[in-house]
């Protein structure tokens, strides 16, 4: 008889390790599109995320009181992952990555090179080109990509620290549209696989983690929720739930019912109606 008291997921799971750095939370959240900074800060706290993404942009010189994100987030408390969002060429993405590193926080980058404005789907060839250069410059590259197994393998070969296939298009909230390919990517890669973009609500996050991936990155699902702080807590729980369900291993599916209570020890059945098949709930 086990006397193990399960106090937290930490006892049942290993930390997420990317480029030698450990994270207890498998949820990474963005910092964009919140209605205000206070909501953002509270949502990040409720999400339990230890890593958050940020973008690099021109300072608005007409409104110098407009503060950068570092006025609201303490980089000693949350690990900041700069992105190259909005870049449509390898060259631009590399420029943004280098500017981000010059800020002096770390040498990580969430590399994204977008190929199309309508879908915001990644330009995988340009992403690969930028990844190779940035890896050679000692960046820790976490590459946003399609749920394409071959692209994921190439990005791993290029030296990316993590590969981040999408669940569905950025900001769409459509959830995980291609669980089979995401599972296959996870099965084939050695580096962590983080599903990035497209998660809409807690069940999406849970189902995504149940595929066995190492983590999920989301932004809009929190920022555009009716109550971002509650949704952040829901996502926190959903990520843990999905992760533990994956580790536990689900029961097999059957197309017929199997009783949960013993069929042995039942009283004599009334003659009125003999069941066609023995058993019951």
């Amino acid at each position: 008889m086990s006397t193990l008291a399960i106090e937290s997921t930490r006892q049942l799971d290993e930390p997420l390790v990317i480029a030698g750095r450990s994270f207890r939370s498998r949820l990474i959240v963005g910092t964009g599109k919140y209605r205000d900074n206070d909501t953002m800060v509270r949502a990040i706290e409720a999400s339990g995320a230890e890593m958050v993404t940020v973008a690099v942009r021109r300072i608005d010189l007409d409104r110098t009181k407009e503060e950068g994100i570092l006025h609201h987030l303490d980089p000693s408390k949350v690990f900041l992952l700069p992105n190259t969002a909005g870049c449509y060429t390898a060259e631009d993405a590399m420029r943004y990555a280098r500017l981000a590193r010059a800020a002096g926080l770390n040498d990580w980058v969430k590399l994204e090179v977008i190929g199309d404005q309508r879908t915001l789907l990644p330009d995988v060839a340009a992403t690969l080109e930028a990844a190779r250069v940035l890896v050679a410059e000692d960046f820790k590259v976490l590459a946003y990509t399609n749920e394409d197994v071959i692209a994921a393998l190439r990005l791993e070969d290029a030296g990316c620290a993590a590969v981040m296939p999408l669940a569905s298009p950025i900001g769409s909230g459509l959830g995980l549209v291609n669980p089979y390919y995401v599972r296959e990517i996870k099965a084939r890669l050695e580096v962590p696989v983080i599903v990035d973009a497209g998660v809409g609500t807690a069940s999406d996050a849970c189902v995504t983690m149940e595929q066995g991936v190492d983590g999920v990155l989301m932004n809009t699902a929190l920022a555009e929720a009716g109550d971002p702080v509650r949704m952040a807590r829901a996502m926190n729980l959903a990520i843990e739930a999905g992760r533990l369900a994956y580790l536990a291993g689900r029961m097999s599916r059957r197309e017929i019912a199997v009783p949960s209570s013993p069929s042995k020890g039942m009283l004599d059945r009334s003659a009125a109606r003999e069941p066609e098949a023995r058993g019951g709930a």
């Binding site: 963005g30 910092t31 940020v54 021109r58 300072i59 010189l61 570092l70």
Partner: protein, 73 residues
């Protein structure tokens, strides 16, 4: 004793801007009310290390980009 201060034109975050001649990057940031440790400077397409802000003059025609971290996904 009034002299008309000499100014130069530079390109700052995509816009033409006239600033006083003879400023360093550090002095320009001060004039703009920016904290150097929260700003990354790209000077004529080259990233300028913070340790060089004090010693780097801003010259006519220079292209400066001042960037920082903002919310993003």
């Amino acid at each position: 004793m009034s002299t008309i201060a000499e100014t130069i034109e530079i390109r700052l975050n995509g816009d033409a801007k006239r600033i006083a001649a003879g400023l360093t990057v550090a002095a320009l940031l001060r004039e703009l009310g920016l904290e150097p440790q929260l700003v990354v400077v790209e000077h004529n397409r080259e990233i300028l290390e913070r340790s060089r802000y004090d010693a780097t003059p801003v010259r006519a025609g220079d292209v400066l980009e001042l960037v920082h971290f903002v919310g993003g996904g």
